[in-house]
């Protein structure tokens, strides 16, 4: 894949698809939900750690040495990356109640912590995959199962008990299963897009290989 195809077509298409797929909320009606202001702020933090880790080299998107169209492609990627990051964050935050606040605060702390840890590209990709994957499972498996309308009498009793104990702040509004698949698609596509970003150093061939440990310590 040439750099032009990747920068002009593949990356914007992938990132905008993340934005679109992540925005679809299917329940009784279908809603295309843009990322909230808080998600946009967290999206900026995601970009910060991506740039800090070297997964994205801004100078390879915008530079005097690039053509005008090439720089416009760079701007398009930067904007798409911001919106896609915000949308992925928005997808992972539950719709309402206590989980919404808890997940939002957790994501904020997680991103600040990641920025403080200053991981390299490989570690950042792993960290994003693990933390976003865990949040996805919590929201779309655990919380969704807890909130799904009960079929058996026992489940309905347990739900009523849970709702009473938590004052209705835990259970989420029901959503169609397609929403979960679209959320997973947007999450995976986002990680692939981050992997494909023009990285510092520019060598993609060894993208997921660990850097060799430095053992070259000689006694003086």
């Amino acid at each position: 894949m040439t750099a032009a195809v990747r920068e002009a077509i593949v990356l914007p298409a992938a990132l905008l698809t993340v934005l679109l797929a992540g925005s679809i909320r299917m329940a009784q009606t279908t809603v295309f939900s843009p990322p909230s202001v808080f998600a946009l702020v967290l999206g900026l933090l995601v970009i910060r750690v991506i740039v800090q880790s070297g997964a994205l080299a801004p100078e390879r998107l915008l530079a005097n040495s690039r053509s005008a169209v090439g720089n416009l492609n760079g701007v398009a990627i930067a904007l798409s990356l911001w919106l896609a990051s915000a949308q992925v964050v928005a997808v992972l935050i539950p719709e309402s109640g206590l989980p919404r606040i808890a997940f939002a605060v957790f994501l904020l702390i997680l991103l600040i912590n990641t920025a403080a840890a200053a991981p390299d590209r490989v570690r950042l990709l792993r960290s994003l995959a693990v933390s976003f994957g865990a949040l996805f499972l919590l929201k779309f498996v655990v919380l969704r199962e807890l909130s799904a309308p009960g079929i058996s009498g026992l489940k309905r009793v347990l739900q009523a008990f849970l709702e009473g104990v938590t004052l209705g702040s835990l259970l989420q509004p029901p959503s169609h299963v397609v929403t979960s698949y679209l959320a997973l698609l947007s999450l995976v596509l986002f990680l692939v897009a981050v992997f494909l970003l023009p990285a510092r150093g520019g060598d993609r061939g060894h993208a997921l290989e660990r850097r060799p440990e430095t053992t070259d310590i000689r006694p003086t």
Binding site: A4, L20, F32, L72
Partner: protein, 171 residues
Amino acid sequence: MWAGLRNDGTIRAGGLVFTVLYAGLIGWLFTRQPQTVAQITGGLASTIGAYSIDQQSLADGLRFFRNDQFVEARMAFARADPAIRDARTQFYIAYSYYRQGWGRLYHDDALYGEGLAAIDRAIALAPGGRLVVDDENLQMHTGEELKAEFEAGRRREPSDFNPMRVFRERK
């Protein structure tokens, strides 16, 4: 041609156009919030002036409407304008809610609520918000008249208890 396509500048320019169009589509979806595939395709077609309603279904709807078969009329109108892009059809849908919900002693608030939503849609779709329907079978011809009727019907006021209201006629 293929040599041209392989050129970096062409790829980059083409990609930029694609990105702008794709982003525009997503922005349109966020703004319009279409609920069905028909609404998406109809809405996109209307932005380039290629959307048209099904005249046969509209005629069926009007026939039902004039026979006071309002549920059937709305089904036909919905078939005529599946993308909800035609102000005139939405006006008739709103009018069907008015006529069905109208009563000498009381009005059906739920139907009037649906009608109000429909007439708001119709006014929003009309160029400049001015909606006039020339139909001699109707007594209200503008979006404003119909909207005012819905709003008055949903208000609670002393005139609701005026016994003379039983002599009022449906418009």
